[in-house]
C-alpha cells in the first residue's frame, strides 16, 4: 500500500532534468519517462507523486504561475514603504480559486504562524465587505512533510477566491493596524521565508460531491 504518512519524512528523489526542462517546477518523484517505461496492466495504479514541494529553491516555479519573493523584494510590502519601479504589486486571482505556497524557515515557524493569526484578525475586523469575503474562502494549511531545504511548507488556499481582490498581506495588515505595528508584523512575515512563494490561479473543474453536469466547452 502506498501511504503518504504524515508522521515520517518521505524520501525525496532528485528532480529529473527532462521534466524540469518542460515544466520549470522541481519534481521529486517519478518522471514522465519513468511512467512511460512501465508496462501497465489493468488494475495497476500509476505511481502517485512523492511528497515534494512545488516551490523551487530558485526563483523559478511553475511556469504560468506567478512566483513571488517577498523576502527579497517589496512586492508584498505595506503601502507606506517607498515605491519601487513597477513590478507586480498585488496578489490577485483572475479565477475562482487560488493557491499560495510558502516555504518557511524552521526557526521562523512561530513568527509565520503569528503573522497568520494577525492576518486572520485583520480580516475579521475589516470594515470592507470584500475583505470579509476574502476571509470566508481563505484557509491555511501546514504541510506535515518537509519542504525544500528542510523548510516548513504553508499553503494558503483561497477557494473561492474573490476575483480582483488584493490578497497582498502588507496591505491587509496596513488597513487593520497602526503603521508601526503593521510594519513589524510584515517584517516578521518577510523574514520567515526560506525561499520564494508560488502562486497558482485556479479554475474550478469539478466537485465530486455534486451531481455530474454536462460539460460545456470553455470559452476561448
Amino acid at each position: 500500500m502506498k501511504q503518504y504518512d504524515s508522521r515520517r519524512a518521505l524520501p525525496v528523489r532528485p528532480a529529473l532534468a527532462a521534466v524540469l526542462a518542460v515544466s520549470a517546477i522541481l519534481v521529486f518523484g517519478p518522471s514522465a519517462a519513468a511512467l512511460a517505461a512501465q508496462t501497465p496492466r489493468p488494475g495497476d495504479s500509476l505511481p502517485a507523486p512523492h511528497a515534494q514541494s512545488p516551490v523551487a529553491e530558485t526563483a523559478d516555479a511553475v511556469a504560468g504561475v506567478g512566483t513571488q519573493t517577498p523576502a527579497t523584494d517589496d512586492s508584498d510590502a505595506p503601502a507606506s514603504t517607498p515605491a519601487k519601479p513597477a513590478v507586480s504589486t498585488a496578489r490577485l486571482f483572475a479565477s475562482e480559486s487560488g493557491l499560495i505556497l510558502s516555504p518557511v524557515k524552521t526557526t521562523k515557524v512561530m513568527d509565520f504562524e503569528m503573522v497568520v493569526a494577525r492576518i486572520h484578525e485583520a480580516l475579521a475586523k475589516s470594515i470592507h465587505p470584500a475583505r470579509r469575503q476574502q476571509a470566508a474562502g481563505w484557509k491555511v494549511y501546514r504541510a506535515t512533510e518537509p519542504g525544500p531545504g528542510g523548510s516548513v511548507l504553508f499553503v494558503f488556499l483561497m477557494s473561492p477566491a474573490v476575483k480582483g481582490a488584493d490578497y497582498t498581506v502588507g496591505k491587509i495588515l496596513m488597513e487593520a493596524f497602526p503603521q508601526e505595528e503593521a510594519l513589524a508584523i510584515f517584517d516578521a512575515y518577510t523574514s520567515s521565508f526560506a525561499g520564494p512563494q508560488s502562486l497558482l490561479s485556479l479554475r474550478f473543474l469539478d466537485d465530486f460531491s455534486q451531481p455530474a453536469k454536462p460539460r460545456v466547452p470553455e470559452p476561448k
Binding site: 500500500m1 504524515s6 519534481v27 511528497a51 474562502g137 488556499l157 477557494s159
Partner: protein, 155 residues
C-alpha cells in the same frame, strides 16, 4: 527416533495452516491493486497534463466522479464529499496544464488512487483502455502536500 519424527510431523501439521495462510495473504496482497492513502487532514496534489490530452484527462476525472458516486464502498461518498479538482488558469510554456486536486477532509485509510477508483466505473474489459488514456494524458505527477488546517479565516 520414531517419537522424534512423530513430534516433527505434528509440528509440521500445526505449522502448515500458518504457512498456507501467510502464503495466501501474500498472494492476495500481490494481486491487489496498490492503494494510495493519506494520513494528513487535507491533501493538495498536482499533475501536469499534456495539452492535446486535456479532454481525455477530464474524461477520466468524470469516470472517477461517477465511480465514487456509484460505489458501494461506504467510504466512497465521504471521499467524494471532500474532493475537488481545479485547473491552473494559465498553461505552462510548453502547453501542459496543471491540475490540482484538493482533498479536504481526507478519509483516513481510504484509497485515493485515481485509477483504482475510476476502474469501478468501467467494465473490466475497458480498464486497460482507461489506464492507457490516463497514462497518455498525464505528463507528470508534480507534488503532493498533505497537512493540517492551521487557520480558517472564515471562522
Amino acid at each position: 527416533m520414531r517419537r522424534l519424527s512423530g513430534l516433527l510431523l505434528a509440528g509440521a501439521i500445526m505449522m502448515l495452516p500458518a504457512f498456507s495462510q501467510d502464503h495466501v495473504r501474500a498472494a492476495e496482497q500481490a494481486a491487489a491493486p496498490q492503494k494510495t492513502t493519506f494520513t494528513g487532514d487535507a491533501v493538495i496534489q498536482a499533475f501536469s497534463v499534456n495539452p492535446d490530452k486535456v479532454a481525455d484527462y477530464e474524461a477520466v476525472m468524470g469516470k472517477l466522479k461517477e465511480a465514487l458516486a456509484k460505489s458501494a464502498r461506504p467510504e466512497a461518498k465521504a471521499q467524494a464529499a471532500g474532493w475537488k479538482v481545479f485547473k491552473n488558469a494559465v498553461p505552462n510554456p510548453d502547453g501542459t496544464l496543471v491540475y490540482v486536486h484538493v482533498i479536504n477532509p481526507v478519509v483516513k485509510d481510504a484509497d485515493y488512487s485515481i485509477l483504482n477508483n475510476a476502474y469501478e466505473a468501467v467494465p473490466a474489459a475497458e480498464q486497460r483502455a482507461l489506464y492507457d488514456t490516463y497514462r497518455a494524458a498525464l505528463k507528470a505527477p508534480l507534488f503532493v502536500i498533505q497537512g493540517a488546517l492551521t487557520s480558517d479565516f472564515g471562522k
